[in-house]
């Protein structure tokens, strides 16, 4: 029992990071280069924190409101952004993140400005976070196997082909933005009710980088990607004390190395090699199922 | 002059070239013909170093070139006019030509800009305009001119008549004939079989990444069954 409780805060960090990583993965998976997760998370976090501290809402209602707020923000953002591409999308969503930060700093009477909101009652524990992460993960897995997952794949690989196949790219991009907003809003709300304090800088450029890092390291495609990425980037350096101090440097090096040597990310590369091996096995057995794995 | 032996190359998994041997003697004009997808462009790109051959040799004047990077091969005098011309659309015609001169690497060129303009007078009035604003035929002339600026030992051309009007194609072919008569060695890839065999001395037919026939162009041109079989084209009537 003791052994586990000692690692509880770490478990919280892991689970929150996992949620944000799922939010980031959904968009990348659909070929949308959005970094808006930080903005959605910030909106969700402030939503819950304000509702709880100023208006005395109960935690579950506040978190539900965060989820809705994130969803709405994702959907709204998708309207103009689904037609941009690549670098333009990245810069536009970064501008969105900056606008959110600036607004939080500006609206001092509501958000507390640069000092943020403090002494938020802690009403979300590890159990709640775990439940939220498992549900989100389950939704991601289910989506992976549904038509949505296949449509995302098609878009990510070749937009023109996807268009010819009748996949409406804009609709799926909008869907990806909306889901990403929902997940980030939810976990933003959970985070603010888990960690006592909230400032605009909680969801700044550093956050954007970390969340991107999770997906790059883990993988963009499989629902295991965020799990592996978050585990790799948060747990490993924490557990190995000596490394903790150099954690950011290690993160940077890992990001470069993974992109160069395993551009698909750890989880996706592993899964692909498993499939390859299976396919080869099938080939040896007689080749009747050669295509089943692809 | 150019000697290619048993060249094998491909794209992740696909073997597009399965042991091709061809050679071009000094001052010779040689055609490589074949249907769409036969591996002609792959052959040129493997010679030029744009893709790395998996095995085989490429020698120019006895110097081994296979496996060297494309820019080194270009500087050694093997200059390709690529499929689709690949002129630099944002640069002016003059700048495109100057760029060609960068490949000279100490060789004295037969052509300077004046010479190119004599060969392709149409380029003269376009000299200061962005190359991308010219017609396809003019762009092809520019692409050839640009390669000539680099003092080629062997000029490699990938379907220079592709997408050109018959009149423009005539211009291009007659320019090639003129270059040949001045002693330039040329390797011409074409799908326009009849025209290619008219102007060249020898020809190779490739199919599915292999040389299936070779001989004097005049003989190949009269071999109707060959042309029909490998190239799917109607034999020339007349």
């Amino acid at each position: 029992m003791n052994y586990f409780s000692q690692y509880l805060p770490l478990a919280d960090i892991f689970l929150l990071a996992l949620g944000f990583a799922f939010s980031q993965q959904v968009v990348l998976r659909a070929g949308v280069f959005s970094v808006a997760t930080a903005g959605f998370a910030s909106l969700g976090a402030y939503c819950s924190a304000i509702l709880v501290t100023t208006y005395g809402w109960p935690a579950p209602a506040a978190i539900a409101a965060s989820l809705l707020f994130g969803t709405a923000a994702g959907w709204c953002l998708s309207l103009p952004l689904a037609r941009l591409r690549g670098i333009y999308q990245a810069i536009a969503t970064l501008a969105f993140v900056q606008v959110v930060i600036a607004v939080m700093l500006f609206a001092t009477s509501i958000t507390g400005g640069g000092l943020g909101i403090n002494s938020i009652p802690k009403s979300v524990g590890t159990g709640t976070l775990l439940a939220a992460a498992i549900i989100t993960g389950y939704v991601m897995f289910a989506m992976q196997r549904s038509g949505i997952g296949r449509a995302f794949d098609a878009i990510q690989q070749e937009e023109t082909v996807a268009a010819v196949l009748g996949v409406s790219i804009r609709r799926y991009h909008a869907l990806a933005f909306t889901i990403s907003g929902a997940i980030a809003g939810l976990f933003g709300g959970l985070q603010s009710l888990n960690t006592y304090t909230l400032t605009p800088s909680s969801f700044s450029f550093t956050f954007v980088i970390m969340v991107l890092g999770y997906i790059v390291v883990g993988g963009r495609r499989s629902a295991w990607g965020p799990v592996v990425g978050v585990a790799f980037l948060t747990l490993l350096p924490e557990l190995s004390r000596g490394l903790a101090e150099y954690r950011p440097i290690v993160t940077g090096i890992v990001m470069i190395a993974v992109m160069i040597f395993l551009p698909l990310g750890l989880a996706d590369t592993f899964i692909l090699s498993l499939k390859r091996r299976k396919r080869q096995g099938n080939l040896v057995e007689g080749g009747t199922h050669v295509r089943s794995a692809s | 002059m150019l000697k290619v032996e048993n060249l094998v190359a491909g794209y992740s998994g696909i073997r597009a070239l399965r042991g091709v041997s061809i050679d071009v003697a000094g001052g010779e004009f040689v055609a490589v013909i074949g249907a769409n997808g036969a591996g002609k462009s792959t052959l040129l790109n493997a010679i030029s170093g744009i893709i790395r051959p998996t095995s085989g040799t490429v020698a120019l004047d006895g110097h081994q070139l296979e496996g060297k990077p494309a820019h080194v091969i270009a500087r050694s005098g093997l200059l390709q006019v690529p499929e689709g011309r690949q002129i630099l659309p944002d640069l002016t015609v003059h700048e495109n030509l100057r760029l060609g001169a960068l490949a000279r690497h100490g060789r004295t060129p037969d052509f300077d800009i004046e010479g190119i303009l004599k060969l392709f007078p149409r380029l003269e009035e376009r000299l200061k305009q962005p190359a991308g604003t010219m017609s396809g035929g003019e762009q092809q002339m520019l692409a050839i001119g640009r390669a000539l600026m680099g003092a080629p030992k062997v000029l490699l051309l990938d379907e220079p008549s592709l997408g050109l009007s018959p009149l423009m194609a005539d211009h291009v072919f007659s320019a090639l004939v003129q270059l040949h008569s001045r002693g330039l060695s040329i390797l011409l890839i074409e799908q326009n079989v009849h025209r290619a065999l008219e102007v060249t001395q020898r020809g190779y037919v490739i199919d599915q990444g292999q040389v299936v026939h070779q001989g004097a162009s005049a003989d190949l041109a009269t071999d109707d069954s060959l042309i029909q079989h490998y190239l799917g084209q109607e034999p020339a009537t007349a």
Partner: protein, 299 residues
């Protein structure tokens, strides 16, 4: 009063231009947003600081720091980008953002360790602290140096790109790497040169900006990176004169906003403007006619 504010804005804008020029150069040749540009900028400022505190004159230190910026930037190209060029363009675009971000994190955190997370300052009197009065406007020697440097950099870049054989190669690679290779141009060398020049520019910017605010810290590049995004978009992605115009416009707009609007509001307005420009006119407010190359990958 307003004239003085506009002058201050022009100088702030020139400072942004110093930073953004090298960033734009790399983008226009590579189509890569080098997110480590801010890191290079910081390294140079820090390097100049160490040289100055160990007794080297600021002028020598500035030259050495600029070269150091070039070398670090070249290393980034070799380590973080060279191997990515085997990927297709849309994969490369994404991968390059991640690897340069990784490089930036590494550089910043090394700086963090070196400075012990402190802000360091040049000793008093490192740069002559002289002011001039021109037509009732007040301008410092350092500010004049900033303006002149921006002008010189712009002229140098335009001359280099449009009047030298190396610039021709560079524009050729920017336009079509394959065609350039077939003409005997070594793209690796071109990319390395581009990064070196970009790094030298970041280095000069780092020293001048560190002097201007007399403060050097590991994270000093970050705010400039964010502004560089705004500038590169406003100026038309890849346009070098557009970048300078956009930077100065941005500097003036920001200065006026800060003076006449409540704190916090300027950022909201400027980033909203960036957002809107991307939606309405992704080719930039300054037009893209001067872009050195328009590779067919627009929005």
């Amino acid at each position: 009063m307003i004239a003085q504010q506009i002058l201050n804005g022009v100088i702030t804008g020139s400072i942004y231009a110093l930073f953004a020029l090298g960033f734009t150069l790399v983008f226009s040749v590579h189509r890569v947003l080098n997110l480590a540009h801010g890191g290079v900028f910081m390294v140079s400022a820090l390097f100049a600081y160490y040289l100055v505190t160990s007794g080297v004159s600021i002028w020598v230190a500035a030259v050495a720091a600029a070269l150091a910026g070039g070398v670090v930037s070249g290393l980034i190209e070799i380590v973080a980008l060279r191997r990515l060029r085997r990927f297709p363009p849309h994969v490369m675009e994404f991968a390059a953002l991640i690897t340069t971000l990784g490089a930036d994190i590494v550089i910043i955190n090394i700086g963090h360790k070196l400075t012990d997370a402190q802000t360091v300052r040049f000793p008093f009197g490192t740069f002559p602290n002289v002011f001039f009065n021109l037509l009732g406007l007040r301008i410092s020697f350092l500010q004049i140096a900033v303006l002149l440097t921006v002008g010189a950099m712009l002229l140098f870049l335009m001359y280099y790109l449009y009047r030298t054989p190396v610039g021709l190669k560079l524009r050729a690679v920017a336009s079509s790497e394959k065609a350039a290779r077939l003409m005997g141009v070594n793209p690796d060398a071109v990319y390395l040169q581009t990064f070196f020049i970009s790094g030298v520019m970041a280095g000069i910017a780092g020293v001048l900006i560190a002097l201007s605010f007399n403060s050097i810290s590991a994270h000093m590049g970050e705010p400039y990176m964010l502004k560089a995004f705004v500038i590169i978009v406003l100026g038309g992605l890849g346009s070098i004169p557009g970048c300078v115009m956009a930077a100065i416009f941005f500097g003036v707009a920001q200065t006026l906003c800060v003076v006449y609007l409540p704190p916090g509001a300027p950022d909201i307005i400027l980033y909203s403007l960036l957002f809107l420009v991307l939606l309405v006119k992704p080719s930039g407010l300054m037009g893209s006619a001067a872009a050195i190359s328009i590779v067919g990958r627009r929005a």
